[in-house]
């Protein structure tokens, strides 16, 4: 018998370890892993990033059987080969941080595929428990899984759970405690073997590298990964070997460069043996709920109509509920707070009053009023994701997105941009390929967000009267057209028309978990508020300082000087220095431009301002200002997340320059054209 592994080293000594243990939760995407994580940790969780990566790291603690349990939610991955940052994170954590235990979440509804990750985890030197989730969904699909039979085959505990029910979590914890009590001595994992025709070469590589590898990497595991073509492990091994040794290994690898097929096949053969007796299909051949729904949801025409209806509903909800709430926050909370602070500071120096009332409350407050809209967007999108619809939306949009060298997965982050560009940029995380992710981020600021729509909605009636609605609609279509054209061109020049592969799982539809969605919304909102309290606060202070220094009034401030500096460029677009300054202040928050115009024309009453503007500027100037406002450089908050998500100042600058060129270019063109036709 080939022994890849000595299992006597598997058993950590829990009795000498004290009471606290660390558990890593592993699983493929769409297995309900996050729901299980939320069930255990509730609000007692912390969301951050894995060191040096833009991948979300979630950890939490809870108590069970008088033990503190520290739970780490590993990123959802299909395997442990270095195809994506998530996979590298998951396996490095298991191998280097050595949790006391790994719980693998698998779905009873697609057991075969979900056991693929288990076939890799079970071969690692860490005890494993399998949580058999989605038993209820499987039943709906006509699949029954016998957990005891599966447990006997795998040689590790298999616990059926329904991640939405608390009692099944208790069940899992009881099994866990039982195994800790007997030090995992009942574990007798059945390890998959490589296909017979590759056993020899695996042994050969293993013996060549085993004396040089760092202790945390099992030699057989590293050898398997190298045969799978894992570039990270190849690099690691290369650094551990002498050049001659590496030559030998490299030539063997080259000779067997198709061995990843043998390894994957070997694992699926093993899975086939594991599930043969455990899975029953009493109602084989029935048409499942998912198949029925997908007939409509993924249809090339009906699917698009359905998507349009869903998005229409999202817009309607956002504006019917979100916009009044935003107004209320503004008029009932932020404005009175400013007034109250102004009263308290009436004896304080003028600069302090301005700093707190205009700089902090005015600036950060304006951004915070977008919270209701952001919450509604996140809640609806979270629910749609949980139901399983999001993947269908990406699927029906795939054709259209191809024009821009993107695929369906880029559609949803971009759509989020209508609410706010910040979540749009963050949402680009779901796209695996780096060029496609960068392109999606670069295009996201071209989506007119609610703040810019508010500016347009306020100014359009000033210049176009009754035609304002039509003009607004036209402007939105215009900026979307610019987005598509930019996408096509950027894809050609930056990424040489490279196309990314569209391979996506369509998960089974299931009832959404409200608790999970609520937690998601809570965490996202919290991180938005945190950003408002730090970065946006800083930015708003800088803009405020520029607008009052050195003299104390806007007309003679540094900001006005900057405005005058850019006045020649403003002239191309028909803008005078006041409109130019208004545009510059929109960098801090898009709706600022109206507030700035209010200050510059010293008329705080809104109706007064629209009349003044209509009297001061020609329609051509008005139109040009609307265009440049829609396309101008992203607001400070968006710039901050662009930097965070791309991890590069280069791309952040490219994005700013892109928007600058696009906005000034198109607005100048529009102005010239409008003059030509005599507007």
């Amino acid at each position: 018998m080939t022994t890849y592994y000595d299992h006597s080293t598997f058993h950590p000594d829990f009795l000498t370890k004290g009471k606290d243990i660390t558990i890593a939760l592993a699983g493929q995407p769409n297995m309900g892993k996050s729901t299980l994580f939320n069930l255990f940790t509730g609000l007692n969780q912390h969301v951050g990033n894995w060191t040096g990566k833009t991948v979300e790291k979630r950890e939490g603690t809870f108590q069970s059987h008088h033990r503190n349990i520290h739970l780490i939610d590993l990123p959802g991955t299909y395997s442990l080969t270095a195809n994506s940052p998530e996979e590298v994170i998951a396996r490095e954590y298991i191998l280097q941080e050595k949790p006391d235990l790994v719980i693998a979440v698998v779905s009873a509804a697609n057991l075969e595929r979900s056991l693929y990750l288990v076939s890799e985890l079970i071969a690692l030197p860490i005890p494993l428990i399998v949580a058999l989730n989605m038993v209820d969904v499987a039943k709906m699909e006509g699949i029954e899984v016998n957990a005891a039979v599966l447990e006997a085959a795998l040689g590790v505990p298999v616990v059926p759970v329904v991640a939405t029910h608390a009692h099944s979590a208790r069940n899992l914890l009881n099994v866990l405690e039982e195994n800790i009590q007997n030090n995992f001595s009942n574990l007798n994992p059945n390890i998959p073997e490589i296909r017979a025709d590759h056993r020899e070469v695996l042994q050969e590589i293993k013996s060549l590298i085993q004396d040089s590898l760092p202790a945390e990497y099992p030699a057989y595991w590293a050898a398997t990964k190298m045969l799978e073509g894992d570039s990270e492990i190849e690099k690691l091994v290369k650094n551990c070997l002498t050049p001659e040794q590496w030559q030998t290994v490299a030539s063997i690898l080259k000779e067997h460069d198709d061995s990843y097929l043998a390894i994957a096949s070997g694992r699926y053969d093993w899975i086939g043996r594991m599930i043969r007796a455990a899975v029953h299909r009493p109602r084989a051949g029935q048409i499942s709920v998912t198949d029925q729904l997908d007939r409509w949801a993924t249809h090339p025409i009906i699917g698009l109509v359905f998507l349009a209806a869903v998005l229409g509903l999202v817009f309607w909800l956002t504006f019917a509920i979100g916009a009044p709430l935003q107004d209320w926050l503004d008029s009932a909370v932020i404005a009175p707070l400013g007034e109250w602070a102004g009263m308290q500071l009436v004896d304080a120096p003028v600069w302090l009053n301005g700093l707190i009332v205009d700089g902090i409350i005015g600036g950060v407050g304006a951004v915070l009023t977008f919270l209701p809209i952001i919450i509604i967007f996140f809640a609806i999108f979270g629910l749609l994701e949980d139901v399983g619809y999001m993947a269908r939306a990406a699927y029906v949009m795939d054709n259209f997105m191809h024009w821009m060298g993107l695929h369906g997965k880029s559609f949803l982050p971009l759509f989020l941009g209508f609410g706010c560009n910040v979540p749009a940029v963050m949402g680009a995380r779901v796209i695996e390929s780096y060029p496609a992710r960068i392109l999606t981020i670069l295009l996201a600021p071209l989506i007119p967000c609610t703040a810019r729509m508010a500016v347009v909605a306020f100014l359009a009636p000033a210049f176009f009267g009754k035609q304002a609605g039509l003009v607004t609609w036209g402007l939105i279509l215009f900026s979307l057209a610019i987005l598509v054209i930019s996408g096509v061109i950027l894809n050609r020049i930056l990424f040489k028309g490279e196309r990314t592969a569209f391979i996506m799982e369509l998960p089974l539809y299931h009832i959404p978990n409200l608790r999970s969605t609520a937690l998601l919304v809570w965490q996202r909102s919290l991180s938005f508020i945190r950003k408002a309290g730090t970065l946006i606060l800083m930015m708003s202070l800088v803009v405020w300082a520029l607008s009052v220094l050195p003299g104390g009034d806007l007309e003679s401030s540094y900001l006005a000087r900057i405005g005058n500096l850019f006045a020649p460029i403003g002239k191309w677009m028909g803008l005078d220095w006041r409109l130019t300054v208004a545009l510059l202040t929109s960098f801090f928050a898009k709706e600022n431009s109206i507030a700035t115009l209010g200050v510059l024309f010293s008329s705080s009453e809104e109706s007064g301002l629209t009349q003044t503007l209509a009297a001061t500027y020609s329609t051509a100037t008005g139109l040009s200002f609307l265009v440049v406002s829609l396309l101008f450089i992203p607001c400070a908050a968006t710039v901050a997340v662009i930097h965070q998500e791309t991890g590069s100042w280069k791309w952040t600058l490219v994005n700013i320059l892109l928007m600058l060129v696009l906005s000034i270019g198109t607005a100048s063109g529009v102005y010239a054209l409008a003059n030509l036709i005599g507007l």
Partner: protein, 86 residues
């Protein structure tokens, strides 16, 4: 590599038909992703949706996978006789 005569790209399999995966004609990166998802030689799949243009959906190992047309063109399959069709 010798490919049997009846082999064809997955993109040409009509909806409702069954087939066996024969080979993946990609670079190693995409091939590795697909094999992980279950597209190993010999694996059985069913075409769920294929309108002749745009992306398509197959079921493989109880999982629905959406594939771009380009990806489907590079997956070689062998059609299996279907009871309902000739």
């Amino acid at each position: 590599m010798s490919i049997p005569l009846k082999t064809m790209p997955l993109s040409e399999l009509p909806a409702g038909e069954h087939a066996c995966v024969m080979a993946l004609d990609f670079g190693r990166g995409i091939s590795a992703r697909l094999t992980t998802l279950g597209f190993t030689p010999g694996a059985e799949l069913t075409m769920i949706q294929n309108y002749g243009h745009g992306p398509l959906v197959v079921t493989i190992r109880d999982t629905r996978i959406a594939l771009g047309r380009r990806e489907a063109q590079s997956i070689l399959i062998q059609r299996k006789p279907n009871d309902n069709v000739l």
